[in-house]
Amino acid sequence: MIDKISWIVALPDLVLLVMACVIALMDLGVKTALRGKTYVLTLVTLAVVAYMQAERALSGATLYGFGNMVVSDAMGNWLKCFATIAVMVTLVYARGYSAHRGMLRGGELFTLSIFALLGMSVMISGNNLLVIYMGLELLTLSSYALVALRRDNATATEAAMKYFVLGAMASGFLLYGMSMVYGATGSLDITAIFKAIASGQIRHQVLVFGLVFIVAGLAFKLGAVPFHMWIPDVYQGAPTAITLMIGGAPKLAAFAMIMRLLVEGMLPLAMDWQQMLLMLSVGSLLVGNLAAIAQTNVKRMLAFSTISQMGFVLLGIMSGVVSGDSLTFTANAYSSAMFYVITYVLTTLASFGILLLLSQEGFESEEIADLAGLNQRSPLYAGVMAVCLLSLAGIPPLVGFYAKLAVLQALVASGQAFHLGVAVFAVLMSLIGAFYYLRVIKVMYFDEPITASSVVAPLDVRVVLCINGGLVLVLGLLPGGLLALCGNAIRQMLGT
């Protein structure tokens, strides 16, 4: 018998599940090339779900359902809300591109996307190792299928294969680590694990052994060095629309998973995992930024840029002070990472949106050179892209700057002297980062266009793209609201 609270907690996810099935069935009757009906129904569903999640987030209550297996808290609900919106935006950008490439012969794009989103939702709200793992598997299995959606394309299929093999291995890591933790603490429940570790009765060795595998699995999903190898290949090989699907919203879920496992579950082991995260982030910043310089393919460049950006996220997570008694600093650190992930997704959506827009029928806009002279073809879209790239580079007054600022501030505030050195290292790496972002801007603004044709976009894409790009700028001028939102959500999670 399911109690009332469990219903409340699970309702948005249930709506997703039911509607995914309904949409799959309804799509059988849709014959148009652009699958208009399926598209609209999917967007309406996602809008309703996003609204429900926002409403739950605003209520501020923390609820546990299904015998503590799932949790509904402000952090989770906001992340779910943003992930839902991100998937919506992705689908808006992706539809035209997919239709031209035979990916809309059936409605799988929509159904699989909803299932992927459901997986993210479950992951984000999981309060139990197995629930989190299940959510993760639902997400990744849907993603494998999405990458392979263009089944007659050799690169896409190869990317799907690579993604599948490596992803399965990462899941294996994670599961192995979880089994260790289960073996040591005797529980799958995150809260119970926390209590067991905090009691100090558990053998440290076994726990840390499990922890290493969990961190490796997480790093794999997030794409941190040295577990990053799949990212460039999959980003490049997958159809651009799907690259956005796996490079956008799932980052939010991956962040939530890290919060659930490492912070909520294993905060008493922070001394151990902080060091691991530090190594991962330093490596990511170094490799991501240096390797991105050498790329000529935009998608591959953005893949390496993602790796370096995730380095910053990890830097934020590792800055939480645990030894001291100041929970404010800890909350600041985690909320800075949350802010970073959200703004990163926002920016990624717009920049890939432009790439999707430029990829016309029979033409893939993949090389940096394909963006040449975009400013002459369409000042508006060049402007949106420039704003996104500058934001990724962390130039004020764009939102990416405050993300970097928040992380660096958390890092410096953590009070360890060598963290100041890490901060200097991070800013020097972002200087290198600025170079390759600027190079794309250079191609768009300083080079002459290859074709003079102006860029045409359907109304829905144009509106969403303008709002998306505008937000990058507006949130840069007024970042206070989103920063406060992240801060409150994290403080509530930490129980202060």
């Binding site: 130039i395 405050y402 410096v412 603004y445």
Partner: protein, 491 residues
């Protein structure tokens, strides 16, 4: 909305309107709108001067509102005697630059004008903010329009110049960002500059902070040996870009020294003053010599800028009020004079499309009016009494002699080198017989160019003959700053 907010956001608003409007077919309308925007933006800064109270060192026209609560960042604006003139100077130069780009720019006119208007708003923001993070936001944001200005409308090697400009200055600023965050943490969560000024800091922290700020501001000034980006960038930038860069952007760095390095780390500033003086003297003497052998007019003026900015930093780091005021006066004077020099070169370049000194000779025969203006600006550049260039240099040299005779003597040699490279260039370009057909075909300046140069000439002359309005505004604030810097923060 306060006067300062108005001064910042009026040009930016006009810039955004220009971006939204306008294709190249409507270029005339775009130009007029840009001119109206620039003039209005200048007019709204005038009340700042007329209502300024010269008897107090306190910040005036203060606006303070919450901006980002999470970091306790305030939208905190205000000007004192140190910053007031730069707000007006920026708005003034902006008008000149819009006039200068009137017929020259034919491609993407609206973006060109918008970039300059937005840039001017951002730079006014730098000069009028009292919050550390807001300062950084404005300071960095100026890179974006300048990068585009150089890259889109620049010369043949513009890409290299645009990247060099952006990355070189970004490197310095990023270290400053770490310093700002460090100060934020040290001060218990405040980005307020006044709080930082009062903050006690130990010797190591001060040294680290001093050099982090040094990285940002020395690159921007630019001081020797991190000046190498400036000649490359000036050569490739369009005329308007060069003028704004020399007239205003370099001042952002010098201004930063006064707002951050000196008051926040006074002990480190005193400790490392010898280094700063040495670098400044090197800039004055060595770079002055380098300027002499340049073949390219823009490069020559660029090196001359480095040398002149050496005077500014020299004036700051001898900690005598005459020197500091002299440095500030020199900054304003250099704003007028270097802007005018670059615009003059632009006038020639628009006609002949060469910056090489060797492509000219005897210009005075075909462009007498223009040559008269150029001679006047050249005299100002070498510091002839009665022009703006004289006042600041003279004050700094006097102060330097008071501080140490030999330093003063070394600085004074700059007057000789300055005269040498400027007048030699003038001789080779303007005097002598007409050397080639290009020069023979030259037409003298039209009304637009005359207006632009006349405005600048008037400013240069006014400042040279009657510098009192400039120094009066500064005196109290400079004295206050020196008093603050003299007190150790260590114990």
């Amino acid at each position: 909305m306060g006067l300062l907010s108005l001064a910042i956001w009026t040009p930016i608003a006009f810039g955004l309107v220009l971006l939204a409007l306008g294709r190249d077919e409507q270029a005339p309308a775009v130009r007029w709108l840009a001119l109206v925007g620039a003039v209005v933006s200048f007019l709204v800064t005038l009340p700042l001067y007329t209502q300024f109270d010269t008897s107090t060192a306190a910040m005036q026209f203060v606006e303070n509102a919450a901006w980002i609560d999470r970091f306790n960042v305030k939208y905190h604006l205000g000007v004192d005697g140190i910053s007031l003139w730069f707000v007006l100077l920026t708005a003034f130069i902006n008008v000149i630059v819009v006039i200068a780009g009137w017929e020259v720019i034919t491609r993407r006119v609206n973006q060109y004008m918008a970039a300059f208007l937005i840039l001017s708003g951002l730079m006014i923001g730098v000069f009028s903010t009292l919050d550390g993070l807001l300062f950084y936001v404005f300071f960095e944001a100026t890179l974006i329009p300048m990068y585009l200005i150089i890259g889109i409308w620049g010369g043949p090697n513009k890409i290299y110049a645009a990247f060099k400009f952006f990355l070189y200055t970004l490197m310095g600023s990023l270290l400053m960002l770490v310093a700002l965050i460090f100060l934020y943490t040290k001060s218990g969560g405040s980005f307020d500059m006044a709080t930082w000024h009062a903050l006690r800091l130990d010797s190591t922290s001060q040294t680290l902070l001093f050099f982090a700020f040094f990285a940002a501001f020395a690159v921007k000034v630019p001081m020797w040996p991190v000046h190498t980006w400036l000649p490359d960038v000036h050569v490739e930038a369009p005329t308007g870009g060069s003028a704004v860069l020399a007239a205003i952007m370099l001042k952002l760095g010098a201004y930063g020294f006064l707002r951050f390095s000196l008051p926040i780390a006074p002990d480190a500033a005193h400790e490392w003053a010898w280094l700063m003086i040495a670098l400044s003297l090197t800039a004055v003497v060595y770079v002055g010599l380098v300027a002499m052998v340049q073949e390219d007019m823009k490069k020559l003026v660029a090196y001359s800028s480095v040398a002149h900015m050496g005077f500014v930093t020299l004036g700051f780091f001898i900690f005598i009020d005459l020197g500091m005021s002299g440095g500030l006066v020199q900054m304003i004077a250099h704003g007028f004079v270097s802007g005018a020099m670059f615009l003059s070169i632009g006038v020639l370049y628009d006609r002949v499309h060469s910056r090489e000194i060797a492509s000219y000779g005897g210009v005075v025969n075909t462009m007498p009016k223009f040559a008269a203006f150029s001679l006047f600006f050249a005299m100002a550049n070498c510091g002839l009494p009665g022009t703006a260039g004289f006042v600041g240099e003279w004050m700094v040299i006097l102060a330097a002699v008071k501080f140490n005779f030999w330093i003063g003597a070394a600085a004074a040699t700059a007057l000789i080198f300055g005269a040498a490279y400027t007048l030699w260039m003038f001789k080779r370009v303007y005097l002598g017989p007409v050397v080639n057909d290009d020069v023979k075909a030259l037409k003298d300046i039209d009304a637009r160019e005359f207006l632009m140069l006349a405005l600048l000439a008037a400013a240069v002359l006014w400042m040279g003959v009657y510098p009192k309005p400039f120094t009066d505004v500064m005196d109290v604030s400079v004295a206050q700053l020196l008093k603050h810097v003299a007190i150790s923060k260590l114990n």
